[in-house]
């Protein structure tokens, strides 16, 4: 049951083409993202003062990340006080080897897992399999994806790309009998099957939505109850967390609990929100006897101290940017080729791996419309980051030679009025050979890339530049003084724009 898929297969364009040719996928992604997005908008509006909450969420995340060494240390020390065995791993390999050491010491035959993007990131399942420890995903969507030997294509709805007939087929094979393509039957089968797995498992593996520094607690948000199972039933619990998951206090959790479920699914709160503070107490009748927390860097610290990308660590993994993104909504998650998809994935994947050159095409899979920023509950400027990534790629010399020459030519023409004017005139004559129905459709030379998908506009017969002096004199006669109230308001707005909340 390999879930290896970080190896890039082809370019984002090729992967997107595959996705665009799959009607069901396109429709399902569009429908689901639309449902989640409108749910989010409704929930945010109903709650009210959404921007104030977003700003509060952003401030909490900024403060924590700016003092991450303090809060992470505080968290680790408090978790130890609670009886947790805390581990630090700089790389995916280190996290895996700690996890395997624990599994081996327990002679574990099986591990049940609740949803965790970090374990996807480090490929924990294959590692466990390699020591003959069965790793079982227990989130319904994740279980389906695991049977199909695929990776999640959406942070919140991992099996968004599968229809119920495909799911019935997968589960029928798993069950050894034919199951009808009815959701309730299929879910019922998984409930029964996984019940046994929960009760037999030696180890429970969870992710971590938030870790509370002041009390050493971890917090999990979920709807199915599988994360509660995983953290209640097996004797040993291993929690994998990205090192940036920290918030200082339970009071701060109220803000995150307000932002995360609403942004992810439009819920007021997920069905279960669990705060787990250490293993079972001596007198308790259930809960894990032994609890480990593995804190992972794996490229996250590369963002620290980088003014353009540090805010990436503020991400609370809600998936709202995926649902808002016009590109994601068309091509789906797998086209991004990494563990994380959508706008956040387009920035996070190259940022975590620091190999901008290899992932540069993902940064190009964005229209820079800023819908991701608008949707983000902690106001991460993802569209700015995408531009920075593109710039860094060019600075590192990974640009397209033809594009570079073209840009140089463009700069030469644009920097001189005379040259620009002659170029336009020349163009007006030159284009006559290729203009059809007012547009240019030939796919030759520099026009090939653009015209493969669109029609280039032709140069107008009457140029704006040629009409300008006429227009100006017409306007001059009509122009009146602006309404002083409007002028004052606009001036105030301009001033206010500079004085936005500053970073710490």
């Amino acid at each position: 049951m390999s879930t290896q898929q970080t190896e890039l297969k082809g370019t984002v364009k090729e992967r997107a083409e595959l996705a665009l040719n799959n009607d069901f996928l396109r429709q399902a992604v569009r429908f689901t993202t639309e449902r989640l997005r409108s749910g989010k908008l409704k929930a945010a509006e109903e709650h009210g003062n959404w921007d104030e909450w977003r700003e509060r969420g952003r401030q909490i995340r900024l403060h924590t990340i700016a003092h991450l060494d303090y809060y992470l240390g505080e968290f680790a020390n408090n978790a130890r006080e609670n009886g947790v065995h805390v581990h630090f791993a700089e790389t995916a390999q280190e996290a895996i080897s700690i996890g395997l050491e624990i599994a081996k010491a327990k002679q574990a035959k099986s591990a049940v897992k609740s949803k965790s993007m970090v374990t996807e990131e480090i490929h924990l399942n294959q590692a466990l399999q390699s020591i003959d420890c069965e790793a079982i995903e227990t989130d319904l969507g994740e279980y389906i994806i695991q049977l199909a030997n695929e990776t999640p294509s959406h942070i919140i709805i991992p099996a968004i790309h599968k229809n119920r007939y495909q799911i019935a087929e997968l589960l029928s094979e798993d069950a050894g009998e034919t199951l009808p393509p009815e959701t309730s039957v299929l879910a019922g089968y998984v409930r029964k099957k996984l019940r046994e797995k929960f009760l037999q498992a030696d180890i429970g593996v969870t992710g971590c939505n938030f870790a509370i520094a002041e009390t050493g607690s971890i917090v999990l948000f979920e709807n199915e109850g599988n994360a509660r199972m995983v953290s209640t039933v097996p004797k040993t619990q291993i929690t994998f967390m990205g090192m940036e998951r920290i918030i200082p206090s339970w009071a701060d959790l109220e803000v995150m609990a307000t932002l995360l479920p609403r942004s992810a699914t439009g819920q007021k709160l997920t069905v279960y929100m669990s705060g787990i503070t250490g293993p079972r107490r001596a007198e308790d009748g259930d809960g894990p006897e032994e609890m480990h927390i593995i804190i992972l860097d794996n490229g996250r610290s590369l963002q620290l101290g980088d003014p353009e990308f540090q805010e990436l660590l503020n991400c609370i993994r809600c998936g709202a940017c995926l649902n808002a993104c016009p590109v994601y909504r068309h091509i789906g998650g797998h086209a991004y080729g990494g563990t994380y998809s959508g706008p956040i994935g387009a920035v996070l994947t190259p940022a975590l791996q620091k190999n901008v050159a290899e992932w540069d095409d993902i940064a190009n899979a964005s229209s820079l419309c800023g819908a991701c920023y608008e949707a983000c509950p902690v106001k991460i400027p993802l569209h700015d980051m995408l531009v920075s990534l593109r710039r860094r790629k060019v600075e590192a010399g990974h640009d397209n030679a033809l594009e570079r020459i073209g840009m140089k030519g463009f700069a030469t023409v644009m920097s001189s009025v005379k040259v620009y004017h002659s170029a336009l005139k020349l163009g007006k004559i030159g284009q006559k050979a290729v203009v059809r129905d007012g547009g240019i459709r030939v796919k030759i030379g520099p026009l090939k890339g653009w015209n493969s998908y669109r029609v280039a506009p032709s140069i107008s017969k009457q140029l704006f530049r040629e009409q300008y002096s006429e227009l100006r004199s017409e306007l001059g006669q009509q122009a009146k003084e602006a309404d002083p109230a409007v002028a004052a308001r606009m001036q105030q707005w301009l001033t206010g724009r500079d004085g936005g909340a500053s970073h710490e």
Binding site: A28, R35, N49, R56, I60, H67, D69, Y70, L72, E74, N82, H85, V86, H87, F88, E90, T138, D139, L140, G141, I144, A159, R164, T183, S184, L186, A187, R191, R195, L199, E214, T215, S217, N223, E224, G225, R228, M229, T232, V233, S249, A251, A257, T258, Q267, K268, L269, V271, Y272, S274, G275, I276, T277, R281, D284, G285, D286, S301, L304, G305
Partner: protein
């Protein structure tokens, strides 16, 4: 075997403490400053100030809790006394032909007198016998009965804190969950419950907020109830407790 395990864990912890220093110093270096060892000053903490002022009247709290909990697929009933609550549970048990009922070992729940009200049913009390396999008892239970510590109106959530007598499995493994909530335990905001965990104290190992039945929309966005946790959840708000 046990000694061996202790030694191994000690070794792991030692290794981790050394690594911690290196790890945290690495973070400080990336942030271009020395290690922060004093608690940082915070300009703000928790929810916005205006939110802290938000407080509903008792009637509105009950009303809002009911609306939110039911919107999530749960049921809210009210009972004047524990005896009334008991008869509600008994009628549900009869309706479902329940064979096993598990309740937390809490005095108030003992006062429900479920053993007497359901003579045909195997009613057990969580963790009253050390030698019992309590996970198995919870897994076979048709109905789990718990005493919720709080109910939060604004999110429609029950707050359950674990302890010796209040097992986490009781609210998780049975098919149907009944939560008893004293009317006085209904609060307006989530923060009212969360903030008290910031006070110096030993927290319970498990703090669980439950907002309705277990659910999933993972198959074609089709809402499925009762995926892993209880598929039916009743909250009974009791007036005189």
């Amino acid at each position: 075997m046990s000694d061996h395990r202790e030694d191994w864990l000690k070794q792991l912890d030692e290794r981790s403490k050394q690594k911690q220093e290196q790890f945290l110093s690495g973070i400080a270096a990336k942030l271009n400053r020395p290690r922060v060892t004093e608690k940082p000053q915070r300009p703000l903490r928790g929810a916005p100030e205006f939110w802290e002022q938000f407080e509903l009247s008792e009637a509105d709290k009950l009303d809002m809790f009911q609306r939110n909990f039911e919107a999530a697929g749960g049921y809210v009933l009210s009972a004047a006394t524990l005896a009334d609550a008991s008869s509600i549970i008994a009628s549900k048990a009869a309706e479902l032909q329940a064979l096993h009922v598990l309740r937390q070992d809490v005095e108030l729940l003992e006062q429900l007198g479920l053993e007497q009200a359901l003579p045909q049913v195997n009613v057990r009390s969580w963790n009253d016998d050390q030698h019992e396999d309590w996970k198995a008892r919870a897994a076979e239970a048709d109905i789990g009965v718990v005493l919720a510590d709080y109910a939060v109106a604004y999110t429609g959530s029950l707050a359950l804190m674990s302890s010796k007598t209040k097992g986490r499995s009781v609210s998780l493994l049975p098919t149907l969950l009944v939560a008893i909530v004293p009317r006085s335990s209904v609060v307006t905001r989530l923060g009212e419950v969360l903030k008290q965990f910031d006070e110096p104290q030993q927290l319970p190992a498990g703090i669980h907020f439950v907002s309705g039945p277990s659910r999933s929309a993972d198959i074609e966005n089709d809402l499925t109830i009762g995926v892993h946790g209880p598929g039916i959840v009743y909250t009974i708000i009791v007036d005189n407790l």
